[in-house]
């Protein structure tokens, strides 16, 4: 029998019991839908997170205190005080790290900003004026603070556009006094709307000189981060090596494993994010795969019922010249048509739900969450569906093909 007629015969066999066929393949639909959904959302998460760091730019280097966190228990290391003024000065020395520009220390704290009766919960970032270059932000109105403000620990701030809208509405904010953690700051500028850069929501942050933040807001003498840029993308690896060298010399560290700082570059982040989302996706896909096994058992069950119901048909076909192989192909094709159809529907639903999920995530999180539909997911879906049909269809199909024609013809 030709493939065309095998398919046609199988199709007719399936269309006899339309609702039964649909219910049976529902298991496969759900399984494939969840796999596609997980893979698509996983890919979306990956590119959403990576998108954050893409803004970092391939030149940007972030020096953080403590070891590279390997797990949740290492997170406390971030708050160690290994990066202070001394380290900043050493790194600023072109003799130590020739290829580095725009060095700025960073300290951060969440704080409530108050203007008259209005309050706004924001991130207060302490930095140097150079942070404007690293984050690529400009004042919309007013000015940035200056190196002098840093030296004098001036209580001045430049605020994000969202804060301005919330606290001042349409009226002018420049020159107004707001309270941050009880201390009065004068607004000297408003940052032009920018959205999110490097995990920082520019529009919802208030920038202050880092010295001011250290002294009056946090009461610390260390930095939470030192950000800098290599002169060029090519110079980045050399700059990273020079930074490591400088800090190790300064801290008398001979064993790199005992570093009390770590350096984050875009390359490192991209790699780490890829690994983490990859592991999560594999984990979730395996969970979804369990539902496919359940779906497969449903297919096998219904195929066994179908083979029994159609015993006479099998006997007739054999009497009219069908070989065992013909009967096997017919029932195997029926099982595979069910699973492949289920797979296609699953891919459709999966893509649809991912699209919905992406648009919801886009709205409720501040991340730019793209809808990604990996072709690999669709191929995997079809592949897995076909495979399930093959595996769970084989046993019923073999039973059918091995029926003796007279037994089958006698069956009532």
């Amino acid at each position: 029998m030709t493939i065309k007629h095998t398919i046609k015969t199988s199709f007719n066999g399936l269309s006899v019991n339309k609702s039964r066929t649909l219910l049976t393949l529902l298991g496969i639909v759900i399984g494939i839908t969840s796999i596609i959904l997980v893979m698509s959302v996983g890919a979306g998460a990956q590119s959403a997170i990576l998108g954050q760091f893409k803004g970092l730019g391939s030149r940007t280097i972030s020096i953080e205190p403590g070891r590279m966190p390997e797990g949740p228990s290492d997170m406390a290391e971030i708050y160690t005080d290994s990066l202070k003024k001394r380290e900043l000065v050493a790194l600023q020395d072109k003799g130590n790290v020739p290829g580095l520009v725009n060095l700025t220390p960073l300290v951060m704290l969440p704080a409530t900003l108050a203007y008259q009766n209005e309050t706004y919960r924001a991130n207060v970032i302490g930095g140097s004026p150079l942070i404007a270059d690293i984050l690529d932000i400009q004042p919309e109105t007013g000015n940035f603070f200056t190196e002098d403000d840093v030296k004098l620990r001036s209580s001045v701030t430049i605020i994000g556009s969202k804060i301005k809208d919330e606290l001042f509405g349409a009226s002018d904010a420049i020159g107004q006094k707001i309270k941050i953690k009880g201390r009065t700051f004068r607004i000297i500028g408003v940052i032009a709307p920018k959205g999110q850069v490097m995990m920082l929501e520019v529009d919802k942050m208030a920038l202050v000189p880092y010295t001011t933040a250290q002294q009056y807001l946090l009461g610390i003498d260390y930095f939470q981060d030192i950000m800098a840029q290599a002169e060029s993308e090519e110079a980045a690896p050399a700059a990273v090596r020079d930074i490591e060298q400088t800090l190790r010399t300064l801290h008398n560290i001979t064993d790199p494993k005992k570093d009390d700082f770590h350096i984050v570059t875009q390359a490192v982040v991209v790699e780490r994010v890829g690994i983490i989302t990859g592991i999560l996706t594999v984990l979730l896909v395996s969970v979804a795969a369990v539902s496919l096994v359940v779906g497969g058992i449903g297919i096998m069950n219904i195929m066994l019922v179908s083979v029994t119901e159609r015993t006479r048909e099998i006997g007739l076909r054999k009497a009219l010249g069908a070989t065992d192989q013909d009967i096997l192909s017919q029932f195997l094709t029926e099982a595979m048509m069910m699973t492949v159809l289920g797979g296609l529907l699953g891919i459709g639903f999966g893509a649809g739900f991912s699209l919905i999920a992406a648009s919801i995530l886009n709205k409720v999180t501040a991340l730019a969450w793209p809808f990604t539909f990996p072709i690999s997911a669709a191929m995997l879906g079809i592949g897995v569906a076909t495979f399930i049909g093959l595996v769970f269809g084989l046993y019923p199909a073999r039973l059918a093909s091995q029926k003796s024609p007279i037994e089958a013809l006698r069956y009532e």
């Binding site: 029998m1 009497a319 009219l320 010249g321 069908a322 013909d326």
Partner: protein, 227 residues
Amino acid sequence: MPLIKLTKLEKTYYTGGVETPVLCQVSFSIEKGEFVAIMGPSGSGKSTLLHILGFLDRHTAGEYRFDGKTIDDLSPDEIAHVRNQKMGFVFQSFNLLPRTSVLDNIKLPLLYSDIPEKKWTTLASAAAKAVGLSHRLNFQPAQLSGGEKQRVAIARALINKPEVIFADEPTGNLDTKTSEQIMQLFQNLNEEKHTIVLITHEPDIAKHARRILYIRDGQLAKDEKIS
């Protein structure tokens, strides 16, 4: 060489260690072009005999040659091919595929043949015409009368131009008048050189054949030619 040649053929069923002999020392030959009725009361072994003749079942002793070959000479696929190409089957309960048009039912054996698809409709229409069903090609089995259903089955048996048509109680589910018409059809087919072997327990049906083999208790009791 006779088309069908049985020599001391035996069939014994073994179920749970118990031997049940069904056919015993049956010998006869059928030439091409004959119209033979195998007659006997129910339980006489005539259905088993027809199954063996149609390569649907195997005998346990003796020899059966169809067109010079025994079932043991052939692989399962070759047996299927012989059934497809050289034998046509008509059953008491018609065995048509439900929800499938008359035309497609008639085409069914072609699915398992080497005949190219573009000839199928022509062949099936010709077979339908031969049994007088040209006006019913797009009907479903449920829309047909019993006699018409059996005509479809006969057309299906004819389509591959087999050497022989085996009919197992073809009128068993039909009324007398329709039975008469179906037997008339078999007679016409025989006049067109088709070899027909049919099973019946009704003398009225058997008398349409040109030769009657009487089976009783698994043995050939009488071989009667009707002129």
